[in-house]
Amino acid sequence: MQNWAIEIQNLSKIFGRKKVALDDIDLAVPEGSVFGLMGPNGAGKSTLIKILMGIIFPSSGTAALLGRDISNPSGELRQDIAYVPEVQNFYPSFYVEDILGYCQRVYPNWDKKRCKTLLKAFDLPIEDRVRELSKGMKTRLAHIIALSIRPRLVILDEPGSGLDAVIKQEFMRLYMQEAASGAGIFFSTHNLHELERMADQVAVIMKGKLLFQRSLDEWKANSRKIQAIFPEGLPEEIKDLPGLLRVETQGKVYSIVLGDHFTENLERIKALKPQYMDTLDISLEDLFVYTMKKEGYSHEIALLE
C-alpha cells in the first residue's frame, strides 16, 4: 500500500455564509515526493495549507498528514512537520533566543547542533528582539526552525517571499537535501522556474477548485505547441482534440497549444493533412498561463494608450 505524506479528501472551506475558498479538494502527496502547488493569487493555496496545519478548520472533508488525521485535537501530529508561512508571526517582544528556546522545548527531535550551524551560516542575530528583525531575517529564522526539527514533512507557503535570491537558493538546497533523505516537501509557489527544478508532482488549484494533479515529467512530455497551416483554414476537428488549451492565429499559421495527449494529438493533426507543421517546446510558465486562461482566469488588457 502506498504511504501518503498528505492525503486530502473532499475538503471544502466556506468562509462566512457563502464565500467558498476551497471546493471539494482531493489530493494525495506520496511520501518522499516534492510536491508543488500552483495557482493564481487568491486561489486558496494558503487556505489549504492553513487547514493542513490546523490553524483553521475545514467546513467539510478530511485530511491526514503522515497518516495522522488533522481533526485529532492533539498537537503530537505536528511534531515532525515543519511549516513556513508566507508571513512570519513570531512574538514581537521575544528575543530570537526565546523563540528558539520554545521550539527546542516543544519539538522532541530538535537538533541543537544543526540549529547552531544554520544560525551561524545565515548570520542571524540571536540577541535581537523579533521586532528588530527585518522581514527577511524573520523568514530565515522560520526556515532555520523548520530545518532544525528534523522534519519528515515540510510545508512551505511561498517559500522565499522576502528572501534574496542567494539565501533563497541556499535554503532550497537544504530542503532538497532533506527530500533526498526521505522527507516529503509540499510547497506553494508563483515561481515556476523553481517549481520546475524541484517538484516531481504538481497540482493546480483555481478559485478553490483542484484542476489537476500530475507528474511534472509526464505533463511536460505531453504538452507542446504545434504550428500548422491548413489549406482550407482551421478544421473543425481541432476543437475536439483532447487536452487542447488554446488555438491562436497569426496570418495563415495556427498555433495549437496542447496540455495533454501530445503523441495522440500529433497523429490526429497529421491526419488532417496540414500544408506545413512544426512542433515547439512549451515552458511550464506558458503552460500554466494557457491552462489558467482556458479556465477563465484572464486579465488580458488592451494596449494602454
Binding site: Q177, R224, D281
Partner: protein
C-alpha cells in the same frame, strides 16, 4: 558542467541529466572510475528534485554508463555499453536524418555537408585525445 540543466526546456530534467553525463563521458570530462556525487549531494548542489536525480542515475545504470557499488558510491563504469552494430547504426542514422532536414532548408549541398561533417568528426576525436 555535465549537471547543468535548463528547467525551461521541454526535455525532462532527468533526460537532460542523462544526456549530460553521457556527453561528459564521451568527451572524456568524466573518466572511467571517477566518482559521481551521491543523489543527496547532487540534489543539494544543484537544487534539483532528488527523485529526478535518482531516476537519471537509474537510467544511466541501466544503460551501463555508470555503476553503483553498494556502500561506496556511484562511479563511471569501466565497460562501455555493448550494443550490436545494427543498433548503433540505427541510433545514429535517425539523428543524421534530422540534420539532413535542417541542411536541406539551409540549402547546403551534399558536398559541403559531407566536408563539414568530416571536419567536425575529425576535430572531435582530436580534441578528445587531447584531453
Amino acid at each position: 558542467m555535465w549537471f547543468d540543466v535548463d528547467p525551461r526546456s521541454s526535455v525532462a530534467i532527468y533526460r537532460q541529466l542523462v544526456d549530460g553525463v553521457k556527453e561528459a563521458v564521451a568527451r572524456g570530462i568524466l573518466e572511467t572510475g571517477e566518482k559521481l556525487p551521491s543523489v543527496r549531494e547532487l540534489a543539494a548542489q544543484v537544487t534539483i528534485n532528488p527523485n529526478t536525480i535518482a531516476k537519471a542515475y537509474q537510467e544511466l545504470e541501466r544503460e551501463g554508463i555508470i555503476e553503483t557499488l553498494r556502500g561506496r558510491g556511484t562511479f563511471v563504469a569501466a565497460h562501455k555499453p555493448q550494443k550490436n552494430l545494427e543498433e548503433k547504426e540505427k541510433a545514429i542514422k535517425s539523428m543524421l536524418e534530422k540534420i539532413m532536414v535542417e541542411a536541406y532548408y539551409l540549402q547546403l549541398d551534399e558536398k559541403t555537408l559531407l566536408a563539414l561533417m568530416e571536419k567536425t568528426v575529425q576535430n572531435w576525436y582530436r580534441n578528445r585525445e587531447g584531453v
